[in-house]
Every structure is written in structure tokens, then in C-alpha cells.
Symmetry: C2
Subunit: 379 residues, 2 copies
């Protein structure tokens, strides 16, 4: 059976052009970029060209880019190396209540170690209220983390205003751009962020590689120790093919961004509009317009996500409840709780995320199947 993939927010296929760009770095230009010989220099050249490309596309300079294994590492790196280094008089930290677990879990350990943490709530549409955030700030605030867009409900945060607020007060600011980079504009200067984390596999690059932007002038201790790679900020032989793939994927993303975002926005709006018409007892989650172009998120009355996803799966439709990282979880999503959903509604959720290979027919098929399936389950 042909599969219809509506889980691009969880991971995406690698673009064939990305695979092609990576290929030479597996068996031909395979050197260790730290080796001074010809094969090492060739690998290093590819690595540094990829770094330059990534830097240019996000408004950074090359030495601000650390290649790593992905955003979980990036987020952990920033939280575990930066927060403990904050001065005593600036050890208040603010994070949005809808951050990814790779931010929230390290934050919980830091809280246990005596750091003063404020979880900034979001409004019912999933947006951080900038006034609220401003009020939460104090002279002791040293660090803020707010993601660019929610991986679950797609709400696009007022990241530029938050960055501005943080910059004016000299507060370090981490923006998790996992869901946005390669899909919509992401620029570290616009964001006024000090750290930006992302993974290649969310924008048609390979799994297992990502990057962390660290603003020039901000010192960060290495997360991996034992080698001088990445200017001493991440030991370990660099994944050259992965870095080349990440850079290529970002380049393709940028070149097709306008057109893809427009098309996905059109389909997303159709879903947000038609699903509640076709099915009773549906709530659209997240903001209607301040929203990822590719995200539609619903909660259904009287219905469990598990049964819904299983039935969709049997119809060849791959979708998700919200976050693959916690898909085995028995707890309702912290994001859906944060927007005020009841546990019952939270457990009846569906995330549809679109991507480069989504077609009009896929949307038609979903709009045909979903109402039937929901009706069947609800009986």
C-alpha cells in the first residue's frame, strides 16, 4: 500500500540532491578533516565550505557554527555548559513552558541544583506573551530559552521581540529553530539570539547531524572533551558527509522556501478550515496564522489518539500525536496542558505535518478518510 506521509515535523526523507552531495564524502574524499595530508585537507575544505554556507544562510559568521549530532545535543550543550557558568547575580533563568524536552529536562536538573527557574506560560493559542515575559525578567535574569515554533502545535513565537528584550538587558538567549530552519526565514541577527540549535533531519538532511550557533564573543565550554575539533568546542572526528548534507539541505530549503511555504500554508489552511466542518467536536490547536506553514493540530472529543493513529496507519496515512520523542508517553503533552487543554482532549490529539513531497491528492485523501475514521472510532 502506498503510504501518505503527514509526519514531516517528526523527521523528513533526505532530499535526493542532499544524498548526491554527501556521496563523495563517504568513500572518496573520506579523510579526517584534522589530518594535515591531502585527503584530510580535502575533507576539511568540504567541512569549512559547509560551515560557511550554513553561516551565510542564517546571518552568522563561520566560527559561530558548531557542527554536532543534532538539536538535542545543542540544547543540552547550551543548558549544561552555559547556565552553571552564569554569575551568581544573574542565575535566574526563564524558559517557555512549551519548550522541547531537550530543554526542559536539563532545566529540571538545574532547578534541583538551586538555579532559579521561571517557566513562562503561553496563551491559549500557544504564544508566549511578550509582556508577561518582560514582567518575569528581573535584574537577576541571565538566560532565556524560547523555541522559534512549537514542534507540537506549530505556534510561531514572537522570537524577534523576545530577542530584542533579551539583548537590551544583556540576557543570553537560546532559540531552538528545529521546526523552522530550512522552512521559513531564520536569521540570528533578526532573532538577536546568542544560541540557535537545529537538526538536519527536520529539513530533508540526514539524521544524526545538526549545528549549534554560538554568537561570537560568547564563550561556551565544550560538551564533548578530548580533541580540538570545532575550535575546541566539540571534540570528536567531524561527520563531514553529514555536515555537507546539512549545508546542502539548508541551501535547497532556502532556494525553495517561498514557494514551498506558500503551498503548504494553502493546504494547512484548508485542513484547519475543513476538518472542523467535516467532523463534530474538533478543536484546532495553536494560533491560526502565527503558525508553521506545514502544521495542523487538532483535538477530538471522545476519542483516543492511539486508536485514531492506528486507524489512519491502517489506511496508509502516517501521522502523529504531537512529538515522536515522547510517543510512548502515558502523560498528556506538556504543550497541550500549557494551552489549557483538558487531559481528555489532549489524549485525543492529531498532528498533521506537511512537507516537500505532500501533494494535493494527499490532502484530499486525508479529508476523505479522517471523518470516516473518527466516526468509526467514536461509535
Amino acid at each position: 500500500m502506498k503510504k501518505i506521509y503527514f509526519d514531516y515535523a517528526s523527521t523528513s526523507p533526505v532530499d535526493p540532491l542532499v544524498i548526491k552531495a554527501m556521496e563523495p564524502y563517504f568513500s572518496q574524499a573520506f579523510g579526517n578533516p584534522s589530518s594535515p595530508h591531502a585527503l584530510g585537507r580535502e575533507a576539511n575544505k568540504a567541512l569549512e565550505e559547509s560551515r560557511e554556507k550554513v553561516a551565510r544562510l542564517i546571518g552568522a559568521v563561520p566560527e559561530e557554527i558548531i557542527f554536532n549530532s543534532g538539536a538535542t545535543e545543542g540544547n543540552n550543550h547550551v543548558l549544561e555548559e552555559i547556565i552553571p557558568s552564569l554569575k551568581r547575580e544573574a542565575n535566574h533563568v526563564i524558559v517557555s513552558s512549551i519548550e522541547h524536552h531537550s530543554v526542559l529536562e536539563p532545566i529540571e536538573s538545574l532547578r534541583a541544583k538551586g538555579f532559579n527557574i521561571t517557566f513562562c506560560p503561553v496563551d491559549p493559542e500557544g504564544l508566549v506573551n511578550v509582556d508577561h515575559l518582560r514582567k518575569a525578567m528581573s535584574e537577576k535574569t541571565g538566560f532565556i530559552a524560547v523555541m522559534h515554533a512549537s514542534n507540537e502545535i506549530g505556534a510561531l513565537q514572537p522570537i524577534r521581540e523576545i530577542g530584542q528584550l533579551a539583548r537590551e538587558r544583556k540576557i543570553l538567549f537560546l532559540a531552538d529553530a528545529c521546526q523552522t530552519i530550512g522552512h521559513i526565514p531564520v536569521n540570528v541577527k533578526d532573532f538577536a539570539c546568542d544560541f540557535l540549535s537545529f537538526s538536519a533531519h527536520k529539513f530533508y538532511g540526514p539524521k544524526g547531524v545538526g549545528a549549534l550557533y554560538v554568537r561570537r564573543g560568547v564563550n561556551i565550554a565544550p560538551y564533548f572533551r578530548g580533541g580540538d575539533q570545532e575550535r575546541g568546542r566539540r571534540a570528536s572526528t567531524q561527520n563531514v558527509a553529514g555536515a555537507v548534507g546539512l549545508a546542502k539541505a539548508l541551501e535547497i530549503g532556502h532556494s525553495q522556501m517561498g514557494q514551498e511555504a506558500a503551498e503548504q500554508t494553502k493546504w494547512r489552511n484548508r485542513l484547519l478550515r475543513e476538518v472542523p466542518k467535516l467532523i463534530d467536536g474538533v478543536k484546532v490547536n495553536g494560533h491560526l496564522t502565527n503558525r508553521l506553514p506545514n502544521n495542523a493540530h487538532f483535538s477530538f472529543d471522545g476519542l483516543g489518539s492511539e486508536a485514531l493513529l492506528m486507524s489512519l496507519d491502517m489506511a496508509g496515512i502516517c501521522a502523529s500525536m504531537g512529538s515522536a520523542c515522547t510517543s510512548g508517553a502515558m502523560e498528556p503533552s506538556h504543550v497541550l496542558r500549557a494551552i489549557g487543554l483538558s487531559d481528555e482532549l489532549a489524549f485525543g490529539s492529531l498532528r498533521i505535518s506537511l512537507g516537500r513531497w505532500t501533494t494535493e491528492e494527499d490532502i484530499e485523501c486525508l479529508l476523505k478518510e479522517l471523518p470516516q475514521i473518527v466516526r468509526r472510532i467514536r461509535i
Copy 2:
């Protein structure tokens, strides 16, 4: 110009069969293994089959294998999560003085935090003396790290005896198998180790992926936090293609091990025998027989490695001083110091490491070029 590659210990080309095995997991079976839908299950199946394969090939069970980004992560993970959790009455740690920096650097930070560390010396041939190690052990020893083989001088450590000693005393034991796995037999039961770290790119797998064996019954806190992947021991979307590639590379390594090791041993012995005959003032480093099949390591009187490597490079020969991770270093190698070499000799070192695509002609070429180059530089 055709390149002759003698730097397999630094990194290796990906075997074409490994690339072939990985390919379907880039764009076809590309799902997130944590996703419950068909594409996720397909990816998860490949991941778990790879885990089973790796486990079987090293004498482990699948749940003892954590896929990660490589041995630097693995070594850091063990040192930073296990040592701080040692009970006060078992906070003495022994590491060999020739460990990789990804062991030594975290150890230095732990020492600064008050852990009691003993660096176990090696004899002039680079071997840890088991009697010496036994004497260094006390009732307070809780952890030992000894690598299976030196990445620089190739000395194969008496890992089974060390493991036995540790096991009898209930001391946790980390064996870094970066240079050996896929090349010579590595079995966690034989080694009696609690942890084993390795990277795929050292045995014809891709860069950016590795695995950490953690013996069943040993609890290790996650190094990356924020997801339940790898049984809660390593958050982050798994690199499925990478894990498949690692497992395939290990499988190929095992199937060709006897023949490859025999051939490389023959060539290695020829180099160890002939280079000192062809060139005056040469010292062979490392043990002559307790040695990696693919490693030949020399120090030359009155000669700088940099000039030597550059001249070899100009002749199309890629070789190394010892470790790519520290190739920019101005300090003499800690390994060469540990075997008692003078700084002058240490700075005149050359590591020749052989691999799957080394040919008789490559060896001939080296034996022809090296004496000429050394003579030219020494003038």
C-alpha cells in the same frame, strides 16, 4: 596524482557495501524510529536489527548497546556519568597513561573535583603492566579505563587479564575498542568489561555514529536528556542509516577479519623490519608482536614530523604523526612520553596505518620513497 593512504587509524573510507546498506534509510525507510506508524516501525525494525547484529558480534545482548555519535561521546558519557556516581568509599579511579584524550580530559576535570586518580604507566613497549596495575588497585578503586589498543603506537593491551582483575574486585571497567573492533576479535565477555566504546568510521563505517556497550545491570544516567530513545540512556532521534551502516561494517569486518589481519600483519612486519634497515637512526615504537595488525610506528633521529609528513604528502602518501585529534598540537604526544621517548624523538614520529585497500604496491612505494625523503630532510 594517485594517493596512497596510510592513515586508516585516523579514519577509513566507507565500504561500498556499507553505503549500499545505508541507502534505503535516507529517503525510503526514512521514518523516525520513535513514530508508531508504518514508516516509523520500519525504521525501528532496521535500528533494532542493527542493534542485535552489533550485540551478537561482540558477545552482548541488544539492550546493552547504545547507539551514539562515536567513541568520544561514549567515553565522555561513561566518565562523566559513572565516576561522579561512584560511592565515596570507591572513588579511586585508575586509567592508563596512554588513553585517548576523550578519556584523559574528562578525567582531569574529575581530578580537579576531588576524585582520586591514578595514571597507570606503561612499559617502554607501550604495554600496561598487569602487576603494576594490580598493585595500584586498592579497596577504594571503583573504576578502571584501559584502551584495547593504542591509537598511536598500536600496542595491544592485556585487556582480558585487566578485565579479569577488575571483575574479581567488582571494579567497573571501560575498554576503548576504537582501534580494534572490526579488525581483530573484540568480545565483551572475554574482556570482562562493563563498558566498551567505539566509532564506526574506524572500521569502514560512516563518521558521526558509534556505539557504547553498557553491561546489563549497570545503571548509567543519560548523557543527552530530553527523550526516551535508547532505553532512556541517550535522547535524540536515532541515526538509523548510521546504525545500519555501523552494523553492516562490523559484519563485514568480522567476515574478513582473519584474512585481512593476516595480510596486514605480514606487511606491518615487513615495514617494522625493513624501515630500520633502510634508514639509520630509526626507533620502532610499540610492542613488536602485541600490536595492531595495521600499525607501524617509528621515530627518526634529527628530523621533524611536520617536514616528513609534508614531503610524504607531496609524494602522494597520506600518513600521520600519531593522532589526528591532536595533529595541530605543539606538545609532544603523551603516549610517546609515556613510553619514555625524548621530546626530540617524539617530534620525529611517523604512524603508518594499513587497511582494507592497502596493496603490496603501496608498501613497495613507501619503502622506496621513505628512505629518500628522510635522507633529503636530514641534510
